[in-house]
Amino acid sequence: MPEQRVITAAQAICEATDIAMAADPSVIVMGEGVADPKAIFGTTANLLDKYGADRVVELPLAENGFTGIAIGAAINGLRPIIVHQRVEFCLLAMEQLVNNAAKMHYVSNGAHRVPLVVRMIVGRGWGQGPAHSQSLEVLFAHVPGLKVVMPASAQDAKGMLLAAITDDSPVVFIEHRWMHYVKGHVPTGNTPISLDGPAKLHSGDDVTVVSNSYLTLETIQAVEALSAAGVQVDHFDLRVIRPLNVTAIVESVRRTGRLVTVDTGFTTYGVGAEIVSRVMEQCCLQMKAAPRRIGLPEHPTPSSRSLAATFYARSPDIAATIAETVGLDAGRVAALREQLTAGRESVPLDIPHPSFQGPF
């Protein structure tokens, strides 16, 4: 049955775009590479043939300009989806996003809408190094007026993109490069998933863990191992980093008294800092242990795999941090680390899975 079909998140993103374009002629896709044979890692595959060059608009190299062009078109009623193959390229468009996209509705006292989706890819791998593998979601999440979402599964990739396209506010849709490979059971048809907050992936009373994007997959592994080891995690996939809805997370920490955040960006001034602060403002005196944050250390991404090895947290590190938070003894923490590391030696650390061909 169709519900059981398995597709990748990349295919899910393409399918969502296709469905939205079929449903609404005002939806267009614009970006560098959206109409080329590689089709943004396959996420816009075949759309050119199906909808033509007026709706799948290949662009000159002008990130700031085309973002503004999309905003202008959106004010006049189109629903552009623009794509940045790397978040680094979108840094050229910060002024347009922060001053125009985010504020147009507010400044016009509600008269103007900017139904814009800004897809961008963050992430890692294959020694891409300092300027091609950052995760800078906070730069967007800090700005009122933007919505910022980070799906972690194929289902969410499709459903949340469908919701983003029909949203009348600008939505920054952040795809981790390695999330593209993730497979899942994705329902067919026009099935939006609302952008209303985190999703509970595992229930437990020992500790609350909030992860996002690709690291949610590493965290799931950690949570399963911990569960087997008798530690029950209340695990949330954050999904929507702006507007931030922490109600369920706060309720959870009230119960567990423990919090660990796991995100794909830099720890300092990162997503985890806001989660921790929101929770502490309400649960500070009920905490059984200090909150912990897992994120990227205080330096740029090195290219060499020997240097990048320690840069990214993986399931063993995540499990160990959670285990320490609930007070497991050193021996059991080490055992968890070992168990989760065991499966992985065969796969190099700079690729998501063995079938990978490279380069990205």
Binding site: N64, F66, G77, N99, Y106, S108, G110, R113
Partner: protein
Amino acid sequence: MNTAPQINQPQQAAFSHDLYRAMLRIRLIEEEIAARYSEQEMRCPVHLSIGQEATAVGACAALRRNDQIISSHRSHGHYLAKGGDLKAMLAEIYGRVDGCCGGRGGSMHLFDDAAGIIASIPIVGSFLPLGVGAAMSYSYTKQDRVCIAFLGDGASEEGVFHESANFAALKKLPVIFFLENNQYSCYTGLSDRQPDRPLTDLARSYAMASEQVDGNDVIAVYEATKRAVDRARAGHGPTLIVADTYRWREHCGPNYDNDIGYRSMAEFESWQQRCPVTTFAARLKRDGTLSDAAEKTLTVELTAEIAEAFAFAKASPFPDPSTVTDHVYA
């Protein structure tokens, strides 16, 4: 100066009279803003366009009501020339609830959807791609509309101008880049910011049509813009119009600043003698199109309209603080 082809003599007289009225109206409105600014009731930066009325009026005269414009920090003239609501503009500058932005934007964010004024955006150059995007929406939906993006000489230095112009030329979009060259960016002259060549050369990078025009001659501006609008409607793509003109008052604020040393009194006076409003009035009188009596009536009528609009703005209530969180998300 010969007149726009499709207009016959009587029409032409009425047309010229309308142009004159529109310029005089902008002049009187901005002079009133300047006169009242020191009351410190208009508590936001204002960038007056006194001295530049012919560019706004001449350009917008070539547009239809459903055509659009987009502007920047110095937008009063464009807003008024395109038919923006005067009361909503003044109430906005006064920070009142009846302002076009409900008081949220101030002088630098004027817009009027009914009149086709998309927005005014005070980040230099930032509005250019929005104008191109508006034009893209016309082509996409097959609407016979044109958008004028008004930019200053300084805005032409921003990279986004290049990106916007390249895309507009590539896609032959119905957008006009109307460059008001008032010779300065704040207090820095053009020759300190760009190499010496005609600004129309900026269009050559993109094989874009361009035209140089006397920005203080409203008829010349109208005709140049009309040609550009006709090209745009015919699907021949964008045009860069460079109109030389001059800002009389300080860059930001109500006063004169010829004393602070960035431009000479002689330069200022030479431009003042070429005042777009009075020179056109003189021409109309020579033609017999405008009588002293008619001019007086016009002034009286406009002064009354303006006084009423200011009264309206000052009587308009301040927005309710409790609404400040509205419209963050649509």
